[in-house]
Amino acid sequence: MFRNIGELVILLLRTVQALPLVWRQRLKVIDQLYEIGHTSLLMVCILSFFIGGVLTLQTGPLLAERGLEGVLGSIVGVSMCREFAPVMMAILIAGRNGSAIAAELGSMKVYQEIDALRTMYIDPVHFLVLPRVVAVAIALPILSLFSILVGWLGGALVASINEQIRVPTQLYYESLRQAVDFSDLANGLFKSFCFAIMIGIVCCHQGLTTIGGPRGIGRSVTKAVVNSIVLILICDYVLSRFLQYLE
């Protein structure tokens, strides 16, 4: 485990060191961004809409019983910003795109494509890791922002049509507007950015250290997704505590 952590830190440092080369790799970054966007956007919409809806469904009746339905918008608004959008989108991207990254690099490792790059003096960190990590780091905060907006919409719809809640859309958004400020949004996007770097590095590392044939690739994909999700949840607590401290 300590060896893995060490390798992850080294890969992260080497990727940061390679950042000045990102302009040279811009076409690969755009390719990856397109890949992440077109495979995840519909999923992001569906997931976020229902997260907002369920959040309203679970808290709305309790608040309505106590005559606090007016703060429903605030609760959904802040929860989506600070917690649900960044965490759920990170888990989605780890499963959807992190697994694809691990599988692609794992297959390249197993079929000697990475060895071929090395013999041409092409550094796999510059050529393969950098564009993927940068693309995930750009895409995830954008998807999280999108998720926040769609989640608010889902919450508003359920709040207005559910008989036990019956909060008008205008009241819902008024409450949301009063509670959510820029720091909530920045908080969520900062978390998303950190999760993105982590997913990119963990999945690339798993891909690059794949051994064995197709079974090895399968093992790497599973480990990449599981490790990413565990780290997202641990990191979420640490980052939340850190951001609370800063505030």
Binding site: E104, M108, Y111, Q112, D115, A116, M120, Y121
Partner: protein
Amino acid sequence: MNQDQTMHGISVRVKDLWKRFKNNPEPVLKGVSFEVYPEEIFVIMGPSGSGKSVLLKHIVGLEPIEQGTITLNGEALDSCLESRKYRIAMVFQTAALLESLTVAENVGLYLSEHRLKPPQEIRRIVTEKLRLVGLTGVEEKFPSELSGGMRKRVAIARALVMEPQLILYDEPTSELDPISAAIIAGEIVKLRKQLGATSIVVTHDRDLAFAIADRIALLYQGRILAMGTPVEVKMSPNPEVQRFLNIEINLSEIVESHEKHP
């Protein structure tokens, strides 16, 4: 990396090379030593699992040297690789083409990634190198659309773009039909004549080895059993060498014996 260096093959000297993998107590290489002279075709022959590919990976720097030394033109391999003093290309057994790139992008990758030439010049060089290995009109195809023989030839073209001083071929004719294998063998000899590069070919194909080699080394269970010109190796008194060289596998006899004694 100096693309303008003059094209001359380099000498390779391997001395007392040992390799032991973590999960296997038996060493894969047991004190292998040989020297390859500039511009010669040196074939390392041996049965599967004898350590040929591992040896090749050491020479190109893909495996770290644990015990022994490798020198290129008398200089330690590590410092040569670090300074990129010599251009070393390798043609992999699986061709190892990047599946997500087209043939042209694969072949021109070395030049484009290191920005050694402008795009138009790279396109011209790619077409030229593909023509040199007998391929035309495949530039925009993806590797998955090519046959095994064509993939190998694309891999050779990719190696040639580096204008290598040393080319390493790992089982260049494996998984190929006899006609494709003969074409590849012809390419190896032709390229040595045209480029003057030193070639090290690893194979278990005896016909290929004797057809193209200036010298042959027979590697068996991690040791070199015989080394010399094709004639010298054929005349070797070592019974293991003779067993490897003279074994004839008659498949119909094997099938018949299985039918008689299932």
